[in-house]
């Protein structure tokens, strides 16, 4: 359908550029138009009316890191599935079996993680 393989890239590049420019322009528009009346109170950290104590550069729960690790594993799995998904009619049952084995190894990992309790946020 695209005789010229580079044809889709020009509009895409224009749009990406436009998106970037628009984001920059919009986010700085207000600083030109709006008033500037900085006060000490405004500059404080917002904590719902109470005095803020300490700073926010603190450690947070390890679970977020675990989720990030799991994400890498399973998102990469999904990425491996895409090329197979497009071609799998040609690859037939052999390719299906191969991919099933690949997914099964990751399911083993998922089962382990699940049973280990890494997906439970309450404990």
């Amino acid at each position: 359908m695209n005789p010229d393989p580079l044809a889709p890239y020009l509009p895409m590049a224009v749009l990406l550029l436009l998106g970037g420019v628009l984001a920059v322009v919009i986010s700085f528009l207000a600083s030109f138009l709006g008033p500037k009346k900085p006060t000490l109170q405004k500059a404080t950290t917002f904590e719902a009316g109470s005095e803020s104590s300490g700073h926010a550069r603190q450690r947070f729960a390890v679970k977020f890191y675990v989720v990030a690790l799991l994400f890498i594993v399973f998102d990469v799995e999904a990425v491996f599935l895409y090329p197979w998904a497009v071609k799998f009619r040609d690859l037939g049952w052999f390719g299906y079996g191969e991919m099933a084995v690949f997914a099964a190894t990751l399911v083993v990992g998922l089962a382990y993680v699940w049973k280990k309790g890494a997906l439970d946020w309450e404990t």
Binding site: D90, L91, T105, V108, A111, Y112, K115, K116, G117
Partner: protein, 526 residues
């Protein structure tokens, strides 16, 4: 659409690794399904089944490796991997080291109350990576397998994470390991740029053309590749991490690292440089490896001498042993083309360098040395792990020589075993270490690296000093009055028994495995 021609026979060379991985998965499942309430406090459930599972799978993998050793060499998976006796023997060595380490770990972890299934699973996964590293015939596959074994050992090094030393060890190992992996990968990418392929068999014929066009790229790529692998084998000047990591890591992990990781990395080194070295200036390679060997042997031994900490001493000694193996590697690359008297007196006795038969002998020597080092070092680490105590770890005295004082009066058989390991590491006949050194030095002399062999012998004489000092402490110093009698662990003692037997039997009668060894010299494509 044509599918790549892959049959089930292609899976043969990776069978040991597959078995080990399956074992790892079974262990993971055993951990979460067999031990109830994994996250309800430190449940002291019996986990004796875990080392047993690990051992069963290790034994199965070892058996398959033994079977593979007699299969004809061939390339599989479109040339991405190879099946050859060399890699099969390597798998076997890895399995031996793994089995002994598992036995040591069983006693060690029980004592530490740190039994968790992931430990053995990680060991098995790491060993699978080591076994696969031996069969890799493509640089990206090689890199992936190095990562598999590295990531497992990073995690294992941090396994007992309380206290500053394990944390330091794990972090040093991780940061430097990641750095060396990056260096390795960069080297691979440069070689790919120079030759347009990452398959070793396809790259070798391209080398001369690539050298003519982009010489710098090839040499830089090979240099970076060598640097990355030298880090894994702990060769000087890439050895800095070794003492701290070996000391801080849990002792069974140190055993596995010193045996398995080193052996696998050496296998990769030999395979890569034998494949690519054909069309290179072999004089250059021989020089390079000769200098590496020289520095590693001398510096490793010299640094080991002042150590009073036995675990640290063993770490330095493992550097020194890497040097001996590098001596064997260097002798692979000496060829007749070299100007006589060029490098360290490299004057081939037989003109024309090593013949094919002698080269096979050298490969055999390397493999036998790796096996000999595996059984001796793992055994030595076994004794160390049996003697150490958690409370003294933070003060750094857990592995002091004093802990060995008078051991013969308290645990006589441990002292005997340790003596065997020390003498074997020192290269004293009739133990297996001596046979290993004999084979290595013989091929070095055959290749004409006479002076280097002499330096090696002198260095191992210096090594005998610090090995024997341990023996002196065990037999001639009185036991401390206040010393607590070290506990006995059935598992560890089994490991000690097995490795002592191996050290002695293989030393006296190396002919027992000579049929395997004569096979194992065959590398694919050589």
């Amino acid at each position: 659409m044509t599918l790549p021609d892959v049959t089930f026979a292609d899976f043969h060379p990776i069978l040991p690794a597959l078995i080990l991985m399956l074992g790892g998965a079974v262990l993971l499942f055993a951990e979460v399904f067999l031990t109830p309430s994994a996250h309800h406090g430190p449940a002291h459930v019996s986990r004796a089944h875990q080392p047993i599972i690990a051992l069963v799978f290790t034994a199965a993998a070892a058996l398959v490796s033994g079977w593979l050793m007699f299969q004809p060499a061939r390339a599989v998976f479109l040339g991405f991997a190879v099946l050859d006796p060399f890699s099969a023997f390597l798998s076997l060595t890895v399995c031996v080291g793994l089995g002994l380490s598992v036995l040591i770990a069983a006693g060690f972890l029980r004592h530490r109350k740190a039994e968790r299934g992931e430990f053995y699973a990680l060991m098995l996964f790491g060993a699978a990576g080591m076994s696969l590293l031996g069969v890799s015939n493509e640089l990206v596959v090689l890199f992936i397998n190095i990562e598999v074994l590295s990531v497992s050992t990073y995690a294992l090094a941090a396994y007992l994470r309380r206290g500053p030393r394990p944390a330091e060890a794990a972090f040093k190992y991780f940061i430097l390991g990641a750095f060396s992996s990056a260096v390795l990968l960069y080297g691979i990418s440069l070689l790919y740029g120079a030759t347009g392929t990452t398959q070793l068999s396809a790259m070798a014929p391209q080398m001369s053309a690539a050298l003519a066009k982009t010489q710098g790229l090839v040499y830089l790529g090979l240099g970076l590749l060598l640097g990355g692998l030298a880090f894994k084998v702990a060769a000087v000047p890439f050895h800095m991490w070794t003492p701290d990591v070996y000391e801080g890591a849990p002792t069974p992990v140190t055993a596995l690292m010193s045996a398995g990781v080193k052996a696998a990395a050496f296998a990769a080194l030999v395979r890569v440089f034998l494949a690519l070295g054909h069309n290179l200036d072999s004089h250059l390679l021989a020089t390079l490896f000769a200098f590496l060997a020289l520095a590693t042997m001398v510096i490793g031994n010299l640094l080991a001498i002042p150590q009073r900490n036995v675990k640290r001493m063993l770490a330095y000694s493992s550097i020194a042993h890497a040097g001996y193996v590098l001596l064997g590697v260097a002798s692979l690359f000496v060829s007749g083309g070299a100007p006589t008297g060029g490098v360290l007196g490299a004057t081939p006795l037989a003109t024309g360098g090593l013949t094919a038969a002698l080269r096979q002998d050298a490969v055999r020597g390397i493999l036998f040395y790796l096996l000999a080092y595996t059984v001796s070092a793992v055994g030595a680490f076994g004794v160390v792990s049996a003697l150490e105590r958690r409370e003294e770890e933070d003060r750094g005295t857990a592995w002091d020589l004093d802990r060995f004082a008078g051991l013969v009066h308290r645990r006589p058989w441990w002292a005997v075993a340790m003596t065997a390991f020390m003498l074997s590491l020192g290269g004293i006949p009739p133990l297996v270490g001596f046979m290993g050194k004999l084979l290595i030095f013989k091929s070095a002399v055959d290749a004409g690296l006479v002076w280097l062999a002499v330096v090696g012998i002198l260095a191992s004489a210096a090594g005998a000093y610090y090995y024997l000092r341990v023996v002196v402490y065990m037999f001639m110093r009185p036991a401390p009055e206040t010393g607590v009698l070290p506990e006995r662990h059935g598992w560890t003692e089994a490991a000690l028994l097995l490795s002592t037997a191996a050290v002695v039997v293989l030393g006296i009668a190396p002919g027992l495995i000579s049929s395997w060894l004569s096979q194992a010299g065959k590398l694919f494509g050589q």
